[in-house]
């Protein structure tokens, strides 16, 4: 990791009960986290609930954050995505809600150069490796990540047998790992 992570500093301050740091953390990260929750839940009201529950969880468990285990943003994203997946278990999603913002679209993995330039080098590496996958594998991985689709839902969406979808995902993940490790050299 290069340099101190300002979000990590804010989480550590939150762990000491610093309300101002917590408010700043929310301000900086909630638009991205909300977008991820909307993408999975497809309903703004559910996404709002998940965001709220996630930040309360974060407030209570900030002292468990360990910067040695990964980035602050990744830790927060994991809390929100897990919250959204759990919410889906409580209430299966209604398909095709009219309340569907643009954020729910699967982002293009090869965006325009300006947007690409704004990404971290680690994210650029990940997207380059994704672009090296078969179209089917890439699509399956992105649908699973951005929309939280299960194997079964994905098979229905892509009109493809369940076993095929599962193997796209598995093979895609294995290739992704090989590609990323090949780029940086195995640790």
């Amino acid at each position: 990791m290069a340099g101190p992570d300002p979000l990590a500093e804010l989480i550590l301050a939150t762990a000491r009960g610093d309300r101002a740091a917590f408010a700043r953390l929310y301000e900086l990260t909630s638009p991205k986290l909300f977008s991820l929750a909307v993408g999975i839940l497809k309903r703004r009201d559910w996404a709002e609930e998940t965001l709220q529950e996630s930040f309360l969880r974060l407030w209570r468990s900030a002292h468990r954050f360990d910067p040695a285990r990964g980035s602050a943003m990744s830790w927060m994203i994991t809390i929100v995505r897990n919250g959204a997946l759990t919410a889906l278990q409580r209430r299966p999603r209604e398909v095709a809600s009219e309340d569907l913002p643009a954020a729910a679209d699967v982002p293009d993995s090869s965006p325009d150069p300006l947007e690409q330039a704004m990404r971290s080098s680690a994210a650029r590496a990940l997207f380059e490796c994704l672009n090296g996958l078969d179209e089917t594998q890439r699509k399956a991985i992105l649908l699973a990540y951005y929309e939280g689709l299960t194997h079964v839902e994905m098979a229905a969406r892509l009109v493809t047998p369940l076993g095929t979808v599962k193997s796209w995902i598995r093979r895609g993940l294995v290739h992704l790992k090989d590609c990323l490790e090949g780029r940086h050299g195995s640790p």
Partner: protein, 236 residues
Amino acid sequence: MARPDPEKRQLIAAEYALGTLRGAARRRFEKLRADDAVYCHDADEWENRLNLLAEAVPEVMPPDSVWQRIEQSIDMSTVRSWWDSPGFWRGVSAVSVAAAAALLALFIQTRPVPPPAPVIPSQVAVLNDQQQHPAWIIRSDFTGHVVSVESLRPQDQPAGTSYELWLIPSTKGQPPVSLGLIAGSGDKQIALNPGQFDTLRNAAAMAVSLEPTGGSPTGLPTGPVLYQGALIGGST
């Protein structure tokens, strides 16, 4: 249980991080991850990788009402909060009661020469951390006016924080009463004022919360409770 071979193991972690591992399988993996450093490392690695995908999603502003509800919940939780919550009282579990009871028996047996002043039964608490490991023994002396704090293991204390010791009354809804700050290591004697003395007589538990340097600014716990244990002996 033996772990599957590394490739298979890492694939499970990858599907967990991606979100396609669901239902009971997801919960099983979460348990493995909590208990086994190898699974934990696999999952950390895949989460750090895949969560970079979030950089490609556009930001969507949540309505202000979400933050307002978060703030309200935190305000409520610091006013009413953990000392009334079932979670806290589960933490003050049979384990800490048994540990305190054993200590109390030992303490009474080994007490030297009969005390001159009116004897108040001693009270003892063993404060455990969140993994139920004992960290402190707290006990009152026979006068009931002095409480000694004995550190069992030095506790890491984040910079800019203080540990504050609290008495939790047995009456539901009664707020905790501070016994002051304690250091992460070393022993301490606390002379009780009359209010603390009275509270100690009908307290059911003790807890240590993490507070800003110098202690809680509000007089009530504001930070997370890190150590807790049942208080036994005395009139209870």
